[in-house]
């Protein structure tokens, strides 16, 4: 399947791939919202995602395609030499990446490699990708280390901060005085090494810490306790 936002480019890609042996283009959606729907229906072996000048969010598309019951392999055609775009695509689950300055032959070769289960990366970009993945993992590990230093109560408070609650609301939900909630928040900022509640929220969301640690906002709140008693 060819998913491309540029009509001319899309037709060129479809035309080029259609004449290749062992390759059949089953669909060519031109709008991002159609890509996942078409992939769910047609179950293509590989989806070539190429936003082109339309500036699609290839990363979001990769994630959605990988979340399907029958996830397709995804080959992203992205900006040439763009290490950040490559890293984002690969972390979102892309199976390969081709720079938009490469030839159709290169694209076809990458397509076949993706079908074989390989992960084609443009020449000269693998080293940077590995370095970026290592840096990202180190940052994740450090984030987990800092989050783990929070007490269970502080993690509950932080989950409510992320949910947008102010200290009065946090105090009400956790049976704390606003002053105590404020103290917890100050301790959290110190332990996380951030300077504001907004920065703390961004830190938590960027590293997926609530999901990893199962700290749902409101899990031990007054409302949750009432619900448990009623249940």
């Amino acid at each position: 399947m060819v998913a491309c936002g540029e009509p001319l480019l899309r037709e060129a890609l479809v035309g080029s791939l259609s004449v290749c042996a062992d390759t059949e283009v089953v669909a060519a959606p031109g709008r991002p919202e159609m890509v996942v729907a078409e992939a769910a229906i047609r179950r293509p072996e590989v989806v070539v995602v190429c936003g082109g000048e339309a500036q699609w969010d290839e990363t979001a598309l990769c994630g959605q395609l990988k979340d399907l019951d029958h996830p397709a392999r995804v080959l992203v055609v992205g900006p040439p030499g763009d290490d950040a775009a490559l890293l984002a695509a690969m972390r979102a689950g892309a199976d390969g990446y081709v720079g938009s300055d490469e030839s159709v032959e290169d694209l076809v070769d990458a397509l076949h490699r993706v079908r074989r289960g390989e992960a084609p990366i443009p020449p000269g970009m693998l080293g940077t990708l590995l370095r970026s993945l290592i840096e990202a993992r180190r940052e994740d590990d450090e984030a987990v280390r800092r989050f783990s230093a929070l007490s269970a109560r502080e993690q509950e408070v932080l989950a409510l901060v992320v949910a947008g609650c102010d200290r009065r609301e946090i105090g009400r939900r956790l049976y704390l005085s606003p002053h105590t909630a404020r103290t917890h928040i100050q301790n959290i900022l110190v332990k996380l090494g951030v300077h504001s509640q907004l920065e703390a929220s961004t830190f938590v969301l960027n590293h997926g810490l609530l999901e990893r640690f199962g700290s749902e906002p409101g899990a031990n709140t007054k409302e949750a306790g009432d619900a448990r008693r009623l249940g």
Partner: protein
């Protein structure tokens, strides 16, 4: 016994890479070494900075190349063993807090 996975390979000085379109060649100053590196070997060579552990290399290769960690471990180990046997890298042991973890 040192923890091999926590050790960090460091490129020896006096070595340089000549970049070609098809492959890359690692040379020493004396001109007695000419080791061809493919893209993967070059990427691993660049990670031999004395700070990156073999374990980190394995995890990154596994994620980037979409291969099982066991296969990535074999590939990384083979490349590093080759660098080591040719005397191209030294191994740095973890120090301080990391060493005791």
């Amino acid at each position: 016994m040192p923890d091999v996975l926590a050790s960090r390979p460091l490129r020896r000085s006096g070595l340089r890479v000549e970049h070609g379109r098809e492959c890359h060649v690692l040379r020493d100053q004396a001109g007695s070494l000419a080791l061809a590196l493919n893209e993967s070997a070059l990427a691993l060579w660049e990670l031999c900075d004395g700070e990156t552990t073999e374990e980190e290399m394995v995890a990154a290769v596994s994620e980037a190349c979409k291969i099982p960690a066991s296969q990535a471990a074999r590939d990384v180990s083979e490349a590093l063993e080759r660098f080591t046997s040719l005397g191209l890298v030294d191994w740095q042991q973890p120090v301080g807090r990391e060493a005791s973890q």
